[in-house]
């Protein structure tokens, strides 16, 4: 299979969906002339024109509200936010308006909006450009939350997100854009709400998504060198969560570690760990461990940033602790 980058895969998804459905349009800051600040929209303005690939002023709350409005009259907006941190500027539009709309209207209105937001810490971008906010959005009802880890899923999930009938927060870790991986040639979709066992093993289940999945796979490799067979689950969609796949895997292994870049305190891992224990406590051989960012703003200096963001060693250490329970 051909190998392309995560950025190229997401661009293909956009391109195919825009060609397929004339209602789909893309807007955001610096996307048309520059092709996106990570180069993820290169070539799209030439093909679809500046009406459907639309540069905007720096007006995040209004852009989110406007995407909602456009969706209400039948368009299919995809909104690009430079950095996920800037979603915080638009919390009212996101939460009070967009996320609750279908529910509040008794199911009579819908908001099929995709919000693409690069997240995660790379290269000391500092506290205003490094956050992983999925924990926050998972807590608030009304969003589907997607966080792909591979180019293949980036393409297939984005296409599914665009076709979804509800608001989707599509979170892309900035460090993933240049990463290459196999991507099928023809059209395909990766369904929302489904996780995948990406490595099989019987001793412990390591659960992750987005960039941290790759660190988790590295940890699994390291465990394999010690003779431990770790199963790795890529969640892909964080809401709705694929509990069947998760419970199935942890039921088999009896041990679990959840790892993510979002803050650990009240993070996605906390919900997963609590639910695994609720459902499987008789079958668990050890408490479920969580790995996440320390509860501080993301610092600038490299040694500080490294200390706060989960590393392979942290996942490995958590796995070893879980394995140490008799």
């Amino acid at each position: 299979m051909r190998e392309i980058t995560f950025a190229e895969a997401t661009r293909e998804a956009m391109e195919e969906e825009m060609a397929r459905d004339p209602r789909v349009f893309l807007m955001g800051e610096d996307i048309a002339k520059q092709g996106g600040i990570f180069g993820q929209f290169k070539g799209l303005p030439q093909r679809f024109g500046l009406e459907r690939i639309r540069d905007t002023p720096i007006s995040e709350p209004t852009l989110v509200g406007a995407a909602l409005g456009a969706a209400l009259v039948g368009a299919r907006p995809v909104l690009d936010i430079h950095f996920a941190d800037f979603l915080l500027l638009a919390m009212d539009e996101l939460v009070n308006q967009m996320a609750s709309l279908r529910y509040m209207s008794g199911g009579k209105l819908k908001a099929p909006v995709v919000i693409r937001a690069p997240d995660g810490a790379i290269r000391s971008a500092g506290a205003h450009h490094s956050k992983s906010l999925e924990g926050l959005f998972l807590h608030l009802p009304g969003f589907k939350v997607v966080a792909p880890a591979t180019p293949r899923d980036a393409k297939g999930l984005l296409k599914s997100a665009i076709r979804a009938e509800d608001p989707v927060l599509y979170l892309e870790h900035k460090a993933l854009y240049p990463r290459k991986g196999p991507v099928p040639e023809g059209e395909y979709l990766v369904p929302l709400g489904r996780a995948e066992v990406v490595r099989e093993g019987r001793d412990v289940t390591l659960i992750s998504y987005s960039l941290t999945l790759h660190k988790t796979l590295e940890a699994a490799e390291a465990l394999a060198r010690d003779g431990v067979e770790a199963e790795v689950v890529d969640l892909k969609t964080l809401y709705p969560l694929d509990w069947d796949t998760l419970l199935g895997s942890v039921e088999r292994t009896g041990r679990a570690v959840v790892a993510h870049e979002s803050w650990r305190f009240l993070g996605p891992g906390a919900e997963i760990a609590a639910t695994l224990e609720e459902r499987l406590w008789r079958k668990l051989k050890a408490p479920v461990a969580r790995v996440g960012a320390a509860h501080v703003p993301i610092p600038f200096s490299p040694p500080l940033e490294r200390r706060v963001i989960p590393q392979v060693e942290d996942i490995l250490m958590a796995a070893k602790e879980v394995l140490a329970w008799a």
């Binding site: 800051e29 002339k33 600040i37 720096i58 290269r123 000391s124 506290a127 305190f265 610092p299 500080l304």
Partner: protein
């Protein structure tokens, strides 16, 4: 001579930034770097009026404001290097510089993030009965944001001592001014009844004069004022920007109105000896070399430092765990 002081500050900013660019490209400065080169006359001209007791909010392009304010180039450079000796002990970085002792309430990674803070600082000064004005810097990109409009309204409504300084360098990243704004700036500011002046942002004396005039209004307790400095950033939006949104020719043309060149020529025309000027420049070079040596020689912060400082007292999320 006043102009000589202004020139010294501009020279310091320019040469500091040139070093920063080199050091960033050499991989010694982490993160993102947005250079101020070309806009020096705005920071120098405006902040020559800065007094103890005044405050400042800045942008993602804040090195120039910090230097014009008198932040020690060594502390600033060390921060850009991410070292323990930096103004924010390595926790802030280029886009998030704070120097509370000097009234610098923060550079900002969020466009227009400083505006409401500046308004609040003005309110705080009033409530506390303190003298002082707040200098609020922002780029033309901030004009798209709702908080800008809300900040102008509140500052005008409550007659707060805030000087809004728009550095209009014609671009917000790749987007030209006209592509983002459906209004004229004087009309916008006029709608709030805020006194407005525009200035040639390449002419440090003109900026100095305009800001002086507006500050007289602000300091007299009659409310905010607004200066629009027309300027140009000679470099890309960030170091590494491919700059596909503007022509070489446009940049060359703007560079012909280099604020440093203009001030230098004026100083010489006024009779300042070339040697005197060069002596001053040499002293600045030494200072800046020292700053680089200081930054490079400074220790990294201890990684465990990352876990403290969110609150006044230490907090432990999970007391049974070692940090």
């Amino acid at each position: 001579m006043e102009l000589l002081d202004l020139y010294r500050i501009m020279y310091r900013i320019r040469r500091f930034e040139e070093r920063v660019e080199r050091l960033f490209l050499a991989g010694k400065i982490p993160g993102f770097v947005h250079l101020y080169i070309g806009q020096e006359a705005v920071a120098a001209g405006a902040l020559a009026h800065f007094r103890p007791g005044d405050y400042l909010t800045s942008t993602h392009r804040g090195h120039g404001h910090a230097l014009a304010l008198g932040v020690d180039p060594r502390d600033l450079m060390a921060e850009l290097f991410g070292r323990r000796t930096g103004v924010c002990r390595g926790k802030g970085g280029s886009m998030h510089l704070f120097d509370a002792r000097r009234g610098m309430l923060g550079a900002n990674g969020i466009v227009a993030g400083g505006l409401p803070i500046a308004v609040g600082a003005g309110l705080g000064l009033r409530i506390l009965g303190h003298e002082g004005a707040v200098f609020c810097f922002f780029g033309d990109g901030a004009l798209g944001r709702g908080v800008l409009h809300e900040s102008l309204n509140l500052a005008a409504l409550w007659q707060l001592p805030v000087l809004f300084v728009l550095e209009n360098n014609r671009y917000a990243s790749t987007t030209g001014f006209a592509e983002s704004h459906a209004f004229q700036v004087p009309a916008l500011v006029g709608a709030y009844g805020i006194p407005y002046l525009e200035a040639d942002g390449s002419d440090v004396e003109e900026v100095h004069r305009a800001v002086g005039e507006l500050l007289a209004h602000v300091r007299s307790g009659r409310g905010p004022a607004f200066v629009e400095a027309h300027t140009y950033r000679f470099k890309g939006h960030y170091v590494g920007d491919p700059e596909r949104y503007r022509s070489r020719q446009e940049v060359e043309e703007a560079r012909r109105r280099d604020p440093l060149g203009l001030a230098r020529a004026r100083l010489l025309a006024l009779g300042l000896a070339q040697e005197e000027l060069e002596a001053l420049e040499r002293k600045e070079e030494e200072l800046l070399e020292e700053a680089v040596v200081f930054a490079e020689g400074s220790p990294w912060p201890d990684p465990e430092e990352a876990l403290v400082g969110v609150f006044a007292e230490p907090v432990s999320d999970y007391p049974w765990e070692e940090p």
